[in-house]
Symmetry: D2
Subunit: 195 residues, 4 copies
């Protein structure tokens, strides 16, 4: 229980800082790009892939035309489409390759990553920088009270980036609901009835 | 190698018989139902689920509006939709439950199964009976030359039904291509560029 | 941007409260059950399913024997196994059915839900109650400053429950790392090299 | 119906020829490699990915230690593992990249493809050549009676290769059942109880 709560505290503190660090230019740019897209494609690897699927499901609930790269009925990308790519390091092979292909066919690319100079970021038409552990955790209030080394391991690998991305993207859903004038009941009506 | 080829022979013989047993009424009814659907949803469990995904991918290549139950962006079923459900026994819990829900919302149901009196078949607006091992294998030419018991085990569990369903559904794709006037190049153009 | 940040604020406030409401008995019971399991199976529908996959991936990184219900290589449950089932309402058909089957074969069940009297909770050997919106959001500090109706829609459907579950389960991973003496490098070494 | 049956006929004819063209050296080499593996990983894109999942599920039923690249609990590859990669062209980016990574960590590679000189084939420790349409269909008995152009389109894109791979791999399951002395009841006992 003790470590469970400490890890949750570390994640919460990270989320608080990440939320403050968001820039209006990046967030509004992302939202504008989504609203202008004919179709939205999302891609992520591992746990980042799961975060992107959670986002895609809500875009579907909002009645947007959305596809998950790698799922069965995902068609070929084309001009007018937007690819939203999530990678903490911005160097995940599969994701960088997806961005490269999207570029070639004339689709727009949104990169969500911790690294503004990463391979993925370089492909981006629209960029959202979200902090991962290495960029922020070392300076949190929590961390100062603890041995940084021990604490860091309580949210291992990409955990902080992934949770931050999920919460940020759920925030973007809120903005889209308001901009599109969608009520929760409308989302509910589109929610899969067979799961 | 010996058993590999014998099992392939058993499967081939089963496919040959299954192809002959198809009735024009069932196949044309299925194709008409697909062409009349606003949207097509497919569902299957285990290996039957994989067969349905392979079918759904080709329907997407044909530019039909198709969804796989359980994938991320699959919306709620509604009147005007068609659910294509695949289950050898026709008794797989998840699949029967999906058909029950589809019925309730006013969607049409196509059942593909070996058992015309199964729970799934009873929900069907359109029915396609495909033989599984228990219905056919015991009477194949191959089987007569071998100990039925040993041979049966070379295509274990639902293997014969699943392969038959894949080949049948690829046959249905051919009919849809002709009826919709789609050329292979058009299918290729919709084929996912990022996999 | 404004709604994005407000929604993130609502989620954060919910997470803070949810973390405080955790009881030592429930959390330690869950962790003990995981450590005593021969194999762990996880199940969830929709976005809850994605949260469970994110958890399962970390259990694999910890070298635990874990399976996701519905994925290709998931075997039959048996005595000695633990099924961890996630459902906000505790009434999702598929999940309640999974728990019923698990009970029948003698596996242990951990239910993570907002409703201690739900169908899912009734099957549970170990229970973790996590607040969803209806249970907590109406009383948050944030909510008092806003029109509850408008605000509620900024984290639609199961959003608060799902994010809370992800952060809680990442907290549980921290406890397991300490109890099993696993270092982050060991987790990294098991992280998929092909994604 | 007419095109459905003609397409099924084309597929059957292709399967018959493909079965004859199998060489004992390739098939036995593949089976030996599987039996010697500590763990088996499978990978394929699109419909080939579904064929590999169908194969992986049966390997699990046989109690082999098997993983599907891209699924949740798939760990890092290491020396002693075998990667079975399926690609008709042998040039699918994702699959060639997977083979490259597998090579680097010292895993063995089985390539199943139509092209012995493809990028994928060059990585292979064990190779199985299965004919796809371009290699065989033009010379089938069926084809001679029809306009090749029209007929070819009845099994579009990778259809012939994919179905051939599924039937071949189900044949390999038969060989593994005999070599491992597994009975169908044992497979059934491992079949997922929650789907």
């Amino acid at each position: 229980m003790r470590e469970t709560r400490r890890a949750m505290g570390e994640i919460l503190e990270h989320l608080r800082i990440a939320s403050k660090k968001l820039t209006k230019r990046q967030v509004d740019g992302f939202i504008r790009t989504l609203l202008a897209a004919q179709r939205v494609f999302v891609v992520g690897a591992g746990r980042s892939g799961m975060v992107m699927k959670a986002f895609a499901m809500r875009l579907m609930h909002l009645d947007m035309d959305v596809y998950v790269v790698g799922e069965t009925i995902t068609p070929a990308l084309r001009t007018g489409d937007v690819l939203v790519a999530l990678s903490g390091s911005g160097e995940t092979d599969l994701i960088v390759e997806a961005a490269r292909i999207a570029k070639k066919v004339g689709a727009k690319i949104v990169a969500i990553t911790s690294y503004p100079k990463s391979s993925l970021a370089r492909f981006a038409d629209s960029l959202v920088i979200l902090p991962g552990r290495t960029k922020v955790a070392r300076t949190t209030r929590f961390m100062k009270r603890e041995l940084a080394g021990e604490y860091a391991s309580l949210a291992p690998l990409g955990t902080l980036f992934e949770v931050t991305a999920l919460v940020f993207l759920d925030g973007v859903i809120a903005s889209l609901m308001v901009k599109l004038g969608r009520k929760e009941e409308e989302l509910k009506a589109r929610h899969a009835t067979i799961e």
